[in-house]
């Protein structure tokens, strides 16, 4: 089972058009919710005025004053209000202030425009530099949402004695997840037995995050809140934390109106107000000896966290831990800060901080190679981590790593050396097309950072059904990545059953335990491992209770399960995460094993630049990765291809343009994601190396492909055009023109 390219469990429903996404759910008598948002970046809300021409008596209206429980969204830090109340501070342009619902969605939309907010405006700060300069203090005493320091050795002692010290500054822009299905929620609140019961169906990655947020919002105990994950039209991190906000909003409207409420964002609203990838700035300083060995590395990594902490502390943490890349270096200092600005809070997006810091590191390595007069291949080869080396946090490499071999494979697949030589000649020609190849080598930590998995203590289970088949109980959600399929394969393998006899239960918090959020490339490796345990426990209990004899056939197993269910009413077995004994982490010193293991990769890109238009075409893209054992090769390749497509988009085209901190190109026409005509075939190679932590030796895969494309592309651009200030993504045609002009104008 593990290693087979089984067909997607929900594939048939998806191609038939019968899969039910949130807005597809038929809800009789539903009201349609809309959100009135602040339209100033910062100020004090003084009043709310309901304009003429709207039958307000027909509307359900919710303001902060109505909130029955706590007006704070439960998250990493509980600092973001669901709604801003009168007298309170508005901190960004898209902050929710009033919720409206009506049975006519067109009228609801018209009413939204008729609400006027009276605001006493305050000066705002809109970018990293303004925040660091404390132009205004908007958060704590220093605008710091989170600060992390990681130190190994002491770089300050190295600078004077090193043969070469090279510094660089790098920037990355915000990026929109652009899941095809916008954020969507349906809520019902019932009053029964003098109690309030809240149910939310939605497009959400983390049912228990929303569950926790609703408990706090309404002040209700656990069993009164139910969250159901509907079929999800993509997420990529964009439905990790935001659903706690809009889920709460839908529930508030349903509670106030006593009717079901649909709250479906249109694309413009979704783009303007929901989370993005954090913009970043990295300053790197590196010391090398005369042969090119890395002696010291200091990095100052800053991300723009927006108006509230939300996920920024953990995004920063992953970015900081990945900042030193996969190089052995005796002296490392990482200073990482998430700063507050008056912008809608960014959040999770595939890669979660690592793409930003790895872009800086992998771009910097190419620049260092040029300055040292070394081939970028050889500079990296001299410095790769090996068995027994320690990373910046002191984590010891316990795998027999062969990063040189991984890199060589990718370079061979794309024909790196031959192409470099060929392009050096052809680029001398008169024509406007210049070609280059470049690559990046990187890693991605699997699962939650540090002690995250221990705190989560995830639970997942296996249940026998009356027909003798097996159902998987986990709160992990299907967002297209293939969770339904991979979990079924893992359990089928553990039980030695055909794939068809195993399926997943609907993700409903009344039915499935908290297997943790569906994030951090953790589902296959972390939850899959728990399911493997649960499945084996399930089988053993059937044996112990006399329903099953080993060895068994699928048929006899099915008979045994049916009999056990008929006899006992219900047969379930749960497993729980156990911290492997050799994994140690200290949250206060940032020392220890940041991740149970890493996935490793080298990505190589070939680009053609047209110097008439400054358009960049990606002509070839090769990915070689070591992700442990691959559970489903076809689905895994799909993850890599899709992640690379997003990485190429981030590297070349996807720019969030803002005014007063608000996205103004918030339409699909103007935020440019790649079409089928913009991408090459992406070549995918897996080097398998079973890792004991995951089921059947699997490691994480979902986020890794986001980390490598941007630096590989910009390294390839340097190959094509020579040394330009290629320090920023997206490197749009406009930006590339400007960089070329810097050189020609001297």
């Amino acid at each position: 089972m593990i290693g087979a390219s089984s067909h997607r469990k929900e594939g048939r429903a998806k191609v038939m058009g019968t899969a039910i996404y949130t807005d597809d759910k038929f809800v009789p008598d539903a009201l349609h919710g809309v959100t009135v948002r602040s339209q100033v970046p910062r100020g004090i809300l003084k009043g709310i005025h309901f304009g003429g021409g709207i039958p307000w008596a027909e509307f359900t209206i919710v303001t902060a004053a109505d909130i029955p429980g706590k007006n704070l969204v439960a998250s990493v830090m509980h600092d973001q209000p669901f709604l801003v109340g009168i007298g309170e501070e508005i901190t960004h342009m898209e902050q929710p202030v009033v919720l409206l619902a009506h049975s006519n969605r067109h009228l609801a939309e018209r009413a939204r425009l008729a609400v006027a907010l009276e605001v006493e405006e305050l000066p705002a700060i809109l970018d990293i530099q303004a925040s660091l300069d404390l132009e205004q203090v908007i958060y704590g005493t220093h605008n710091l949402l989170k600060e992390i320091r990681i130190q190994k050795g002491d770089p300050s002692k190295v600078w004077d004695r090193a043969a070469h010290v090279i510094e660089g500054e790098y920037f990355t822009g915000a990026q929109e997840q652009m899941y095809l299905e916008t954020n969507a929620m349906v809520a019902v609140v019932e009053e029964k037995d003098a109690q309030t019961w809240v149910t939310v169906w939605g497009s959400l990655q983390c049912p228990y995050y929303v569950h926790g947020a609703l408990k706090q919002l309404f002040g209700l105990p656990e069993d009164r809140v139910r969250v159901v994950a509907m079929e999800m039209g993509g997420a990529f991190g964009g439905k990790e934390d935001y659903p706690s906000v809009n889920g709460g909003h839908a529930a508030l409207l349903a509670w106030k109106s006593g009717k079901p409420v649909k709250l479906i964002y249109d694309r413009e609203e979704d783009l303007a107000c929901t989370t993005k990838r954090h913009p970043s700035r990295s300053r790197l300083k590196t010391a090398f000896d005369a042969e090119g060995h890395l002696l010291a590395l200091e990095t100052d990594f800053v991300i723009d966290g927006g108006a509230y902490a939300t996920m920024s502390p953990v995004v920063l943490s992953r970015g900081a831990i990945h900042a030193a890349g996969l190089y052995r270096c005796p002296h490392v200092k990482v200073h990482a800060r998430a700063v507050a600005t008056n912008t809608p809070p960014p959040g999770a997006f595939r890669g979660f901080g690592a793409p930003q810091s790895l872009f800086a590191m992998e771009r910097h390595m190419d620049i260092c190679a040029r300055k040292l007069g070394l081939d970028p291949v050889e500079l990296r080869r001299k410095n790769f981590l090996r068995l027994g080396d320690t990373m910046a946090t002191g984590q010891v490499i316990r795998e027999d790593l062969d990063l040189g071999g991984l890199m060589d494979r990718a370079l061979a697949e794309i024909g790196y050396h031959d192409k470099r030589a060929a392009f050096a000649i052809t680029n001398q020609g008169e024509g406007p097309i210049k070609r280059g190849v470049g690559f990046s080598v990187f890693m991605h930590g699997c699962g939650f950072t540090g002690s995250g998995e221990s705190y989560l203590a995830s639970v997942a289970g296996v249940e026998g059904l009356a027909d003798g088949t097996v159902s998987i109980l986990a709160a992990s959600t299907e967002m297209g990545q293939g969770k339904n399929t991979v979990f079924s394969q893992i359990v089928a393998e553990a039980l030695k059953l055909p794939y068809e006899l195993v399926d997943v239960a609907e993700v409903d918090t009344d039915r499935v335990p908290n297997s943790g959020p569906t994030v951090a490339s953790r589902s296959t490796m972390m939850v899959g491992r728990i399911l493997e345990d649960a499945a084996i426990g399930f089988k053993q209990s059937l044996v112990q209770q006399g329903f099953l004899q080993e060895p068994y056939t699928p048929e006899s197993f099915q008979v045994a399960v049916a009999k056990a269910v008929a006899t006992l009413g219900s047969v379930k077995c749960y497993g729980q995460y156990h911290r492997p004994p050799n994994i140690v982490w200290n949250d206060s010193t940032y020392q220890g094993d940041a991740y149970p293991t890493f996935s490793w990769a080298c990505y190589a890109a070939e680009v053609a630049v047209d110097l008439d238009t400054y358009e960049v075409k990606v002509e070839d893209f090769v990915t070689v990765q070591e992700v442990g054992r691959v559970v489903n090769p076809r689905l895994a390749a799909g993850q890599v291809e899709g992640g690379v497509a997003q990485g190429i988009g981030w590297g070349l085209w996807e720019e969030v343009t803002t005014k007063q901190g608000r996205m103004i190109n918030n339409q699909m026409t103007n935020y440019i994601i790649p079409t089928s005509a913009d991408l090459p075939r992406i070549q995918v190679v897996f080097l398998e190396n079973a890792h004991p932590a995951g089921p059947g030796g699997a490691k994480g895969i979902g986020e890794l492909p986001m980390d490598g494309p941007a630096p590989a592309l910009l390294n390839a651009l340097e190959g094509a055009l020579g040394p330009l200030r290629l320090d920023e993504v997206p490197m749009t045609p406009e930006r590339l023109l400007q960089r070329c002009e810097e050189v020609s104008h001297g």
């Binding site: 038939m16 967002m479 293939g482 690379v644």
Partner: protein
């Protein structure tokens, strides 16, 4: 204020009639009035292609079609691609090749791919890329979709 119209269509092979506002988006008529929710709204501006349907044999973005322009038309949505529960060749190829990940672009993508193979039974890879360029997918990077269309084309050719 407009008078509502009795919109009559041949929808997925069946005569259907429904009383609607003449300027209602065909997308909304299909999803809300006729409860055919396979057709999706991804952008509402004719950019993403998730709402692609056949209107009189041509692919169109149903979010840009007012109901009155579908009067008397033949309409085929994703729900009309399979025959009696049997997947069409392109649907089957999408299942086999993991052409659908999150599945939200899939209904429109399948309609566009069906149209492409109707017009061009043996497309080159560039023709497929061109034929599907109006359907944005954020999950796949398009490779598995190309695989599926190529397989369906080859199967069609071998029959």
């Amino acid at each position: 204020m407009a008078d509502r119209i009795n919109l009559v269509m041949k929808l997925n092979g069946e005569e259907r009639s429904v009383n609607v506002h003449p300027f209602a988006r065909l997308l909304d008529v299909l999803r809300e009035d006729l409860r055919l929710t396979g057709t999706k709204e991804g952008c509402g501006e004719g950019e993403c292609g998730a709402c692609t349907i056949f209107l009189n044999g041509q692919v169109v973005n149903s979010c840009l079609v007012p109901a009155v322009q579908a009067q008397g038309a033949e309409v085929i949505t994703v729900e009309g691609l399979a025959r009696g529960g049997e997947l069409s060749p392109i649907q089957a190829a999408f299942v086999a090749h993991n052409g659908a990940q999150c599945g939200f672009c899939t209904p429109g993508m399948l309609v566009a791919a069906t149209d492409l193979l109707n017009r061009c039974p043996n497309p080159t890879e560039d023709e497929i890329r061109d034929g599907l360029a109006g359907n944005l997918c954020r999950c796949t990077g398009y490779s598995k979709i190309l695989d599926a269309v190529q397989t369906a084309a080859a199967d069609g050719a071998s029959r």
